[in-house]
Symmetry: C2
Subunit: 200 residues, 2 copies
């Protein structure tokens, strides 16, 4: 089996949510696994400038229209969370903590968090709400709650975010296939084709 | 025949170039004409903030890779103009001047300008170079040269750019189908489907 592909995303990114619904199937068709790597776009904006789409003049109006339209086209459930954008740091920490113990459980938690946020318009911005979602996928509440306060878990995320930025990850979703980067859920067909052909 | 669709683009936008290679065919399949409406992204950046992709940290590296990759996937000739980005105001003026007299000749000139810039990596940044391209598609040099200095032509472009910004156009390419906006060459499949279905 070839190397896994890297799937970077921010839990507060609805286009990342759309990509999360397709990425595993695309990779599996080509015999690849996927490393789900949540990161913090806020750290990118702080270091390199930039702002969430929802705060950019003109673009924000477009984004509010394009996003649900893209979800409808995919037949994906979609509801804006309130507030939006939201802090995704607790969700990120939970994923690395869980993935380090059990990658499949980490992915299941990531899917559940994304579904809660954008499939149902629910809250995943606080440690408390992240623990609630974790409990739904069978993770122990007390363990999850403790992990979110754990300095080692916080450090783990900090390192992941640094590593992502060093690799040039600046948006969400951002997929890397054998060193080749693809930004945006609208590049997933290219990801599929790159996996199929080895590049063009 | 239903209303024409509006195709907004900046001549300095290579993704606009890619869209220009497909937009007429897509529209024609659904019995629609296309209004080619060049505009100036610089005016958008000045009014609302923002910068060319080539000047945004991290994004610029990605852009330099994504753009030729997208062109190869389409089988489109592609070469970076030097310098890039370049001033597209003379090219814009030429298009509105020519289109007002003869829309088909205006489109032919727009195609020739885009091909020179991104198909061949040539220069279309000056009035002189725009006149050269115009001559190649059978437009009188002296008439074109005079038009580019004409205050009425300059005014015409100013009004078009203002109208585009009032409509919310913030990027290139930007296509409007029956009031529905689509930003990016990677939304052309959605444009095709919208024309087919009337929306979703």
């Amino acid at each position: 089996m070839s190397d896994p592909i890297d799937f970077y995303f921010d839990f507060s990114s609805p286009y990342g949510y759309l990509a999360s619904l397709r990425i595993d199937d695309i990779a599996a068709r080509h015999g690849r696994a996927v490393n789900w790597r949540p990161m913090l776009l806020g750290a990118v904006f702080k270091k390199f400038g930039g702002a969430p789409l929802s705060e950019v003049p003109l673009k924000s109006d477009y984004f509010l229209r394009d996003m649900p339209r893209a979800a409808r086209l995919m037949g994906a459930p979609f509801k804006w969370p309130d507030p939006f954008p939201f802090a995704s740091i607790a969700a990120c920490r939970a994923i690395y903590w869980q993935t380090d113990m059990d990658p499949e459980a980490g992915r299941a938690l990531a899917r559940a968090l994304y579904h809660t946020a954008f499939g149902e318009g629910g809250d995943i911005a606080t440690a408390k709400s992240v623990v609630e979602v974790a409990a739904k996928v069978g993770i122990d509440r007390a363990a999850a709650g403790a992990a979110l306060q754990d300095a080692a878990v916080k450090d783990r995320l900090r390192q992941e975010v640094e590593a992502a930025m060093e690799r040039g990850v600046f948006g969400s979703p951002y997929v890397v296939v054998d060193g080749e980067p693809f930004w945006g859920h609208d590049r997933l067909d290219q990801v599929d084709r790159w996996l199929e052909t080895g590049g063009w």
